[in-house]
């Protein structure tokens, strides 16, 4: 399988800040690839260098076998880019907006309207873009990135600020896009989103790629403590500790805050059977490690601006 994107040792410095510090990555054709990282990790700059909006200080980038910098008119019709902020024209309706974008690629109004239908905006086609809801604007923005049927699609935080319904709605759309054989590169803050959508993710921080792999593989790699919670009042902390010690189960962080009795363990089996025997399973929650744990372990917990 050919590579849709290869980047080799790209660096970019703004004044004193080394925004991208030697990023190498490759994305296969048809892959759904996620770029994760806290604010200021260098995701956006990396994405902009890949898209050909910025020139890297160092390193080599190839998109579909071509260099995106300097501006390459042969490459542009084959890639679609969606920005964080909705880049729409003033005072235009959704239909006029997508038809305008279509015209840049020599695509007629019928195909543009079909794309609007596809993202479910036919009914609000006459609404001015500045009057649209966040979800509608994001869907229009994605439609504008897809209107010319690109092979490679870049999406920068497409679900930020959307309600849960709108997010799931958009996930379906993104999955369909990928299923049609398009390569999709996504940046996101939502780890659940990356876990659900992406074939492979890279976690970035301080301008470097810290780890790359399938979300499930990354989760399995980290220390897989399981957190178990039940309603409190069925079992005291002391009795739970005695029973678990007697059963020889390893555990930690056993606590009861008045509503929930919780503990962490590497071996959930004996703990769950103990709880079952004590008939203390009401409100049971078992939560394994997620991509979020991978992310936090790699990038730390300190607050980023």
């Amino acid at each position: 399988m050919t590579e849709a994107i290869t980047a080799d040792g790209i660096r970019k410095r703004y004044g004193d800040v080394q925004a991208v510090d030697g990023v190498s990555l490759s994305v296969s054709t048809g892959e759904f690839y996620g770029l994760l990282g806290p604010n200021g990790a260098g995701k956006t700059t990396t994405l902009e260098i890949l898209e050909g909006i910025r020139e890297a200080d160092e390193g080599r980038v190839e998109l579909l076998g071509m260099s995106p910098w300097p501006r390459n008119a042969k490459l542009l019709p084959r890639i679609g880019v969606q920005f964080q902020a909705s880049a729409f024209f003033n005072k235009l309706s959704a239909r006029e907006t997508i038809r305008t974008f279509a015209s840049f690629y020599g695509i007629g109004p019928k195909a543009a309207d079909a794309m609007l239908e596809r993202v479910g905006l036919t009914e609000s086609a006459g609404v001015l873009t500045d009057k649209m809801s966040g979800g509608q604007a994001q869907r229009l923005s994605i439609a504008c990135a897809l209107v010319h049927d690109p092979e490679l699609v870049f999406l920068d935080e497409p679900t930020t600020g959307l309600d849960p319904q709108a997010r799931r709605n958009l996930w379906d759309l993104l999955r369909d896009i990928n299923a049609e054989g398009r390569t999709v590169v996504l940046t996101t803050h939502y780890l659940d989103e990356a876990e659900i959508l992406c074939d492979r993710v890279s976690v970035m921080d301080h301008g470097k790629v810290l780890k790359t792999g399938a979300p499930a593989a990354l989760v399995r790699e980290i220390d897989d403590t399981v957190r178990i919670r039940v309603e409190s009042g069925m079992l005291t902390v002391d009795r739970a500790r005695d029973l678990l010690t007697a059963a020889g189960a390893a555990f930690s962080n056993l606590e009861d805050d008045g509503t929930t009795l919780a503990l962490s363990t590497h071996a959930p089996g004996p703990v769950l059977s103990m709880l079952a025997e004590e008939n203390a399973l009401r409100g049971l929650e078992v939560r394994g490690a997620t991509l979020e744990d991978v992310f936090l372990q790699l990038t730390g917990r300190e607050y980023r601006a």
């Binding site: 902020a85 024209f89 005072k91 840049f104 690629y105």
Partner: protein
């Protein structure tokens, strides 16, 4: 190559059609943005037109003021000459009064310029107010000449000297003749400067410029679309202004080569757009672009003679106005619109305006940015 691959590449292969489409699409966006923005419509069309109507009404009749005189009782001198059309009385507006005091009060208030009554022994008494010295001189001169003429008539002598006066081409400028090109130039400069600068600032801020950069269209297509739309707006302004100014109420009379105003307005639109390109490249927000634009347009309009004629302005002010493009539209436009000017009057202005365009665009290009980040 598969069928889908072919479908994907075909728009790029069909380059000519694509370009035409993108150009039409962009022009449409800009035109709709203009027509749907009430603020822009007001400042580029309604406000300058309101100025034209307002100034037109204010200055109306300013050039054809009569000398108003009260005739108290019967004044033989005036009655004698009243029948002659185009005679010396044609410049006098005579009101008959019986009450001398009432007439005198009006003269004192400045409502009348003079009071004529008949004294004993054929004496003609003129009383006037010194408040307006020009009017005072005029009324004295006219009445004096009336007396002379009457004397000469009554002596039945052949005059030793006669005056043979004939009209030459009327070079004096009526207010509407300088108001129309002046306010039109103001309107065109507002439209073109704001059109270019706000397109640039808003599109940069909303990342539309960046999005355009990722579409396979050339910068030339974008610029061409903006130029065409700005020229359409400017020509619409021109048509509207000329239509209003030619109404009987304002009375602008176009002379033979008035159409030369069209190439003049087009050249001026380019020059003003390059100003907007510069402010749009420098400004980071609509607010600061607005400030810069006003800081340029208002002084340029006053100094260029958009609102008031510059004929009596000190020469250093005239020199300043020569460094700004507006006067190179106003003066030739005034000449070709209503003073019988021809190509020779329009060409130098057009050349200078295009010169401004080249220089200002080159400066703007140095500051241009696709992105504000």
């Amino acid at each position: 190559m598969t069928a889908t691959d072919q479908a994907r590449t075909s728009p790029a292969v069909d380059g000519g059609r694509e370009k035409a489409n993108a150009f039409v699409g962009l022009s449409r966006v800009m035109l709709l943005g203009f027509v749907r923005d009430k603020g822009t419509l007001f400042f580029t069309l309604a406000l300058p037109l309101m100025f034209l109507v307002l100034f037109g009404v204010l200055y109306k009749g300013g050039g054809t003021s009569h000398v108003k005189v009260a005739e108290v009782g019967q004044v033989k001198l005036l009655d004698q000459l009243k029948d002659q059309k185009d005679g010396p009385l044609s410049v006098l507006e005579i009101t008959t009064f019986t009450d001398e005091n009432a007439a005198l009060a009006k003269v004192k208030k400045g409502e009348l310029d003079g009071l004529v009554s008949e004294g004993p022994d054929g004496k003609v008494v003129l009383r006037f107010s010194q408040a307006d010295q020009v009017k005072a001189g005029t009324v004295q001169g006219i009445v004096n000449s009336l007396v002379q003429t009457a004397n000469q008539l009554s002596s039945h002598a052949t005059p030793a000297y006669t005056l043979d006066a004939s009209k030459v081409e009327d070079d004096s400028t009526k207010p509407i003749q300088y108001l129309t090109p002046g306010l039109l130039a103001y309107a065109v400069s507002m439209g073109a400067v704001y059109g270019a600068s706000f397109t640039l600032v808003t599109w940069r801020k909303k990342r539309v410029l960046r999005r355009l950069r990722l579409a396979p269209i050339s910068a030339g297509t974008i610029v061409a679309a903006r130029v065409v739309v700005s020229v359409i707006v400017a020509l619409a302004q021109t048509a509207l202004f000329l239509a209003v100014a030619q109404l009987d109420f304002f009375g602008l009379k176009l002379t033979g080569n008035w159409w030369l105003v069209i190439p003049l307005v087009i050249c001026a639109t380019l020059a003003f757009m390059s100003i907007g390109l510069l402010t749009g490249s420098l400004a980071k927000s609509e607010e600061s672009a607005n400030g810069m634009n006003q800081l340029i347009i208002l002084p340029m309009s006053f100094l260029g003679g958009a609102f008031i004629p510059l004929d009596f302005a000190p020469s250093w002010l005239q020199d300043v106005s020569r460094a700004l493009p507006l006067r190179y539209l106003i003066n030739p436009a005034k000449s070709v619109l209503s003073q019988g000017g021809g190509i020779a009057d329009a060409l130098p202005g057009m050349g200078i305006l295009l010169g401004f365009t080249v220089v200002l665009s080159a400066i703007a290009w140095r500051f241009f940015n696709w992105d504000d980040a």
